[in-house]
Each structure stands twice: as structure tokens, then as C-alpha cells.
């Protein structure tokens, strides 16, 4: 299956990190751990990666970053009281697409 996405890590500094023109030209999806997903072989996406000083990660590397944070959150949730669990959902796994 042809790869649809590329992953990167970049710190979201706020205003200007994603601009309206970026969103118009391609879809940016973010995940825990400052992991971002953009289309592969896309000129505008590549220019954005350059702008945000993104560090390219393989899908598996990106998944490992996300999984580590989710697992920590799940462990924290599991340690909470039943009263807390009745009011909050357990953090769920976040599978990344190829």
C-alpha cells in the first residue's frame, strides 16, 4: 500500500505555527508528544515541515512516542478512585495510519 502520510515532531509555538494558508493547502493532524502528520509527496506540506523545523519520524517512531504518553495516562487513570473513573473515560490507544 502506498504511503499516504509522513510524520514529524515539532514544537507548537502558537500563533503562526499553523497558518490559515497552511490549512487551506493540506491537512495537518496533531497527536500527543508534538507528533504531527501531513501528506507525503506534497510541496506545501514539505515547506511547512521546513518552516516549523520538523524532525521527520517513521510511522513506528511516531507511534512509539504517542504510545508512551497514552500508556502513562492509562496507568494514571487506573490508579484513580472508582468515583473518578465513573466521571472520566479511560484514555484510549491512538493508532497512527501508514
Amino acid at each position: 500500500m502506498a504511503k499516504k502520510y509522513q510524520y514529524l515532531v515539532a514544537e507548537n509555538w502558537g500563533k503562526g505555527f499553523i497558518e490559515i494558508n497552511d490549512s487551506i493547502k493540506f491537512t495537518i493532524s496533531g497527536f500527543p508528544g508534538d507528533v504531527w502528520r501531513v501528506p507525503v509527496h506534497d510541496k506545501h506540506a514539505n515547506l511547512w515541515i521546513n518552516k516549523v523545523l520538523g524532525v521527520i519520524k517513521t510511522k513506528n517512531e511516531a507511534q512509539a512516542i504517542v504510545d508512551a504518553l497514552v500508556e502513562t495516562a492509562q496507568n494514571n487513570y487506573d490508579a484513580q478512585s472508582d468515583a473518578y473513573k465513573a466521571r472520566h473515560d479511560r484514555p484510549t490507544d491512538i493508532p497512527l495510519e501508514e
Binding site: 507548537n12 509555538w13 502558537g14 500563533k15 503562526g16 505555527f17 499553523i18 497558518e19 490559515i20 497552511d22 490549512s23 487551506i24 491537512t27 495537518i28 493532524s29 496533531g30 497527536f31 500527543p32 504518553l69 497514552v70 502513562t72 495516562a73 473515560d89 479511560r90 484514555p91 484510549t92 491512538i94
Partner: protein
Amino acid sequence: MAEYKSINGFTLQDVATDPTINTGQVWYNSATRAIKLHAATASGTWATGGALGAARQKSGGAGTQTAGLIFAGNGPPLLATSEEYDGSSWTGGGTMGTARYAPTNTIGASQTAALAVGGSNGVGDFNNTEEYDGTSWAGGGNYPISKQAMAGAGTQTAGLSCGGGGNVTTTNEYGGSSWTAGGALGTGRLTFSGCGLQTAGVVFGGTNPPPKAALTEEYNGTAWTAGGLLNSARSNHSACGVQTAALAMGGDLAPATTNLTEQYDGTCWAVETVVPVARYAQAAGGTTAAAFLSGGSTGPANTTTTYEWTGAGAPLVQTITTS
């Protein structure tokens, strides 16, 4: 093929810099050697905004994209602080008398006239109301019952709060100093959102519990009537706008957190551009044309992130190419 001059009565402008916005205008930019036009976006877009000073979820929100307000919430710790947004960055605002999370999520169209009601500290729910004047918080009339996770609409002097913990159908209206009973919701629920006015309000989603609700109800100042169903039932989402032009953003789809955005036209919900990062329990303010969405949780962590929404129809300069 007809020439440009025969259609418009004048030749294409030859300019060194792009002209100011006039939708439909076409010109030649001699500096970049490109033919360009002023178009408009076909769908809404999200862009990043300034980061909050404190990561928080289940906060209250009010105001607009360029004059926004976020208050209370759970960091942790439980927060009594508020922050004000100018469209670029957040600065500290007044501190509330009572730290709390899950106050009624949106009451107050203005950064300088917002209302906080109810909420919880994790041990018990509150019934106290606080009013913000842009500088400091002052006590208002107590809500008739102690509740958290209600939905709201209106302004500081004509507010509305309804539902909440226990899935009650109760609605109460604020006149600027005290609460009086209003019409009962058709479906009691909590962790839902609302927007609009006291006499033209709208609430949607929530937990009933379970499952998540897709229900929309509209208020006319006296009674609630059913509106269109959300495409994705959800809770802990954010809302802004008015009864005939509202946004639902993010939330919990159970079990997953969502990044889905939907826009209401007073009758139906339409799927719009997704938020870059899936989150729930954020604060929001603004309109379907320009809104902000701040804080909330991605699941693993609470965030300081702000996203700014620009609705469809925003000016857009495009370069005309041949292929």
C-alpha cells in the same frame, strides 16, 4: 474564447504588489510574473493561536477570537485564574473567588462581561455565580441548585443555564442579579454545550448517560424544541455562535477523543474542517466566522494550545496556473 477586456470592459491590471481584497478581482503581478485572483475559502480553516499560560480542561469560555476569555478549570490543580486573549497572546485576568472545574461552559458574548455559574471541586458541586467585568470577578445571584457540567447561552445580564449532573432537565434564566426558572429541557443531560441568546439559545450533544447524545434543542425564552441531530454524538465538546449559526468542536466520542467540527444552520448540522488535534473539554468563544478553541485534554495530557477558526468565505489570493 472572449477576451478579458470584452467581458469586464478593461484590461487586466499590471501591478507590482497584490491589491487589497476585492473578491473576484483578477490582476497580473509583474514582480512575481503571475496572474492572480481574489477568491474565497470554500470551507473553514484552523490555525494555531497563542498558548495559554496554564494548561487546563473543563474551563469556561467567553468573548471573541480577538477578545476572548478562559476561566477556571482543572490543571491540575483546580484553577480560579482567568486569562484574556487578544487574538495573538493570552495575559492574566482576574482571579475568581471559587476555584472550580466544569462551570457552565459558555455564557457571555464579551470578554468584559462574562458569567461563571456552578461547577465542581471534585468533592461537591457549587451553586455560586460570579460575574466578570474585564478586570475582576464579583459574586452574583446563587443558582437554584448546585450543579456542574451544565450548558449555557446568553449574556451576563440575560443568561441561561440548563441540565447538568444527574441529567436534570432544569433550565434557569439569569437577569443580572438572580436566577428564575425557565422551560424544561426535553432530554436531561450533562457535559453538553450551548450558545446563542437567552431568547434564542441552542444546546447540543452531551451524555445522558450513556450513550453520548446527538440531540439538539432550541430555546425561545420560554420552551425548548428539538433541532437537527449532530452527525457525531459527543460530549465534552465546545460550542460558539448563535442559534442559527453555531459550531460544535472536538469532544468525546466514547471511547475516543475527536477532532470533528460541525456547523449548525438552525436546522441541520454539516461536517466541517477537523481541528488539527483531537481534544475534549476545551473552552471556546466567537462565531462561525471567527472563533477560538483553547485548552482541553488530548487524553494523555491537558494542553495550553489555542486554535483559531476562520469560517468559509474568508478572502484568499490564488495564483492562476495552466496545466
